[in-house]
Point group: C2
DNA sequence: AATTGAGATCTGTGATCACAAAATTATAAT
DNA sequence: ATTATAATTTTGTGATCACAGATCTCAATT
């Protein structure tokens, strides 16, 4: 029997093509930190866990490898990407270069409804911090950032930024899980203020600071995974 | 009979896995401007042109779609990505943010041999400009830039930058082909000078200017493809 | 000449099989 | 008990088939 990658996945209901549903599901699992860096996955194992045939899994995994979320090891074994100092530095550089810029582009497209959503997500994030719920912290932090970015239907920047998140999220989860939420802070307030003030530069700066603080916190833990 | 995507491809000799050979081949064709934006491709057509089975083509095309080089249209038809103003602006932003930075990172790793190669490629590029050989211009311009970037084995920045090039290269070829080489300039000299002087900031600035000039030249042609 | 529509063909997606290389387990030898 | 070796299973890759939806062909009709 093929090794099980995970279990207890919500069954497919949507009318999306199977491979897209598989891809989205795997993305969510990765972004929310459900995959441990270094763990090896198998096509048949994922297929069984998701109750689909190996074929659409193969296509999704190929995509995720292209996006750097998964890696194919030495002798063709699929693994969840591990963090290295070099990768980390480049991820930080790319995030700091692109995410503040996209925030500024997206700001004019954030309407009242989306702002409300962001405020709501941020309050849930505060709850997650104070109650020590790492899983929710990861999830709501992701939702907050992409809640801003996705206001702009960016055909280039958004997929690239998503690929950056796919790369560091597994590592993020491990580190945050070990350190606990007491080391985490919420730098999103100034971002919300900037959105309310409709000030793109201020938003870019707030996101920049948020990323920098977060990545600095992570930086000490590289190699100690 | 399936439609032929192209013809006259060098047969496979290498010992790479078939899918990687197919991927590399398609990348080169795209980067060198052999694919016309908007053209639809078919898995079976590519497979026949490359004399391989459809399976490895499928995998390669999936990768290229994930990287934005190809697109799957409205009703699942594979096409070479077309340029839009929004895409173009984001590509320019991303290139200007990442490529100068990677240049600076790579500079300390450029040895004498690589410098010699860069000088050589640049002189070939000058010949291509003066003789009006667009194809060679595209090729050597690509080789010059990646000749710098690849000095640093960057696990994150390099693949992302490659994906940026895959997205604009088909468009680049069309525009350059219509305008002719008389509108093209060679801004690589100051980059070479900066490398010789081992001055990362100067190299970053030179690459920045090179990208800016090139993208500005392209900007007027959007939508007139 | 332009339009329509039925039949044929092509295309992406998913399923299944085959296979060699790798990994795991079982067995034997010291 | 530990190591060496043989047998078995698992895994990614490639090939082939099935199929529904899209596309194309081309004659019939207006």
């Amino acid at each position: 029997m093929p090794s099980n990658a995970f279990s207890k996945i919500a069954p497919r209901q949507s009318v999306l093509p199977v491979n897209e549903w598989v891809y989205d599901t795997l993305c969510q699992l990765i972004l929310h930190g459900e995959f441990v860096p270094g763990v090896t996955l198998t096509l048949r194992g994922i297929a069984e866990s998701l109750d689909v045939s190996p074929m659409p899994v193969r296509e999704s995994v190929t995509r995720l490898i292209a996006e750097g979320a998964l890696e194919v090891s030495n002798k063709r074994r699929i693994t969840v990407s591990q963090m290295t100092q070099k990768k980390f530095d480049e991820l930080a550089l790319a995030r700091l270069s692109l995410e503040p810029a996209l925030s500024a582009l997206a700001l004019p497209l954030i309407d009242a409804e989306r702002l409300k959503l962001l405020v709501d997500v941020d309050s849930k994030l505060d709850v997650a911090i104070s109650t020590g719920n790492i899983g929710n912290y990861i999830k709501y932090n992701c939702q907050f950032h992409f809640g801003i970015y996705e206001a702009s239907p960016s055909p280039v920047l958004l997929p690239i930024i998503k690929s950056l998140w796919l790369r560091f999220s597994p590592f993020y989860r491990i580190v945050a899980g070990r350190a606990g939420t007491q080391t985490l802070d919420d730098y999103h307030e100034s971002a919300i203020d900037a959105i309310k003030a409709k000030d793109p530069d201020a938003l870019a700066k707030a996101i920049h600071k948020d990323i920098q603080e977060g990545m600095e916190m992570l930086n000490d833990s590289i190699g100690k995974q």
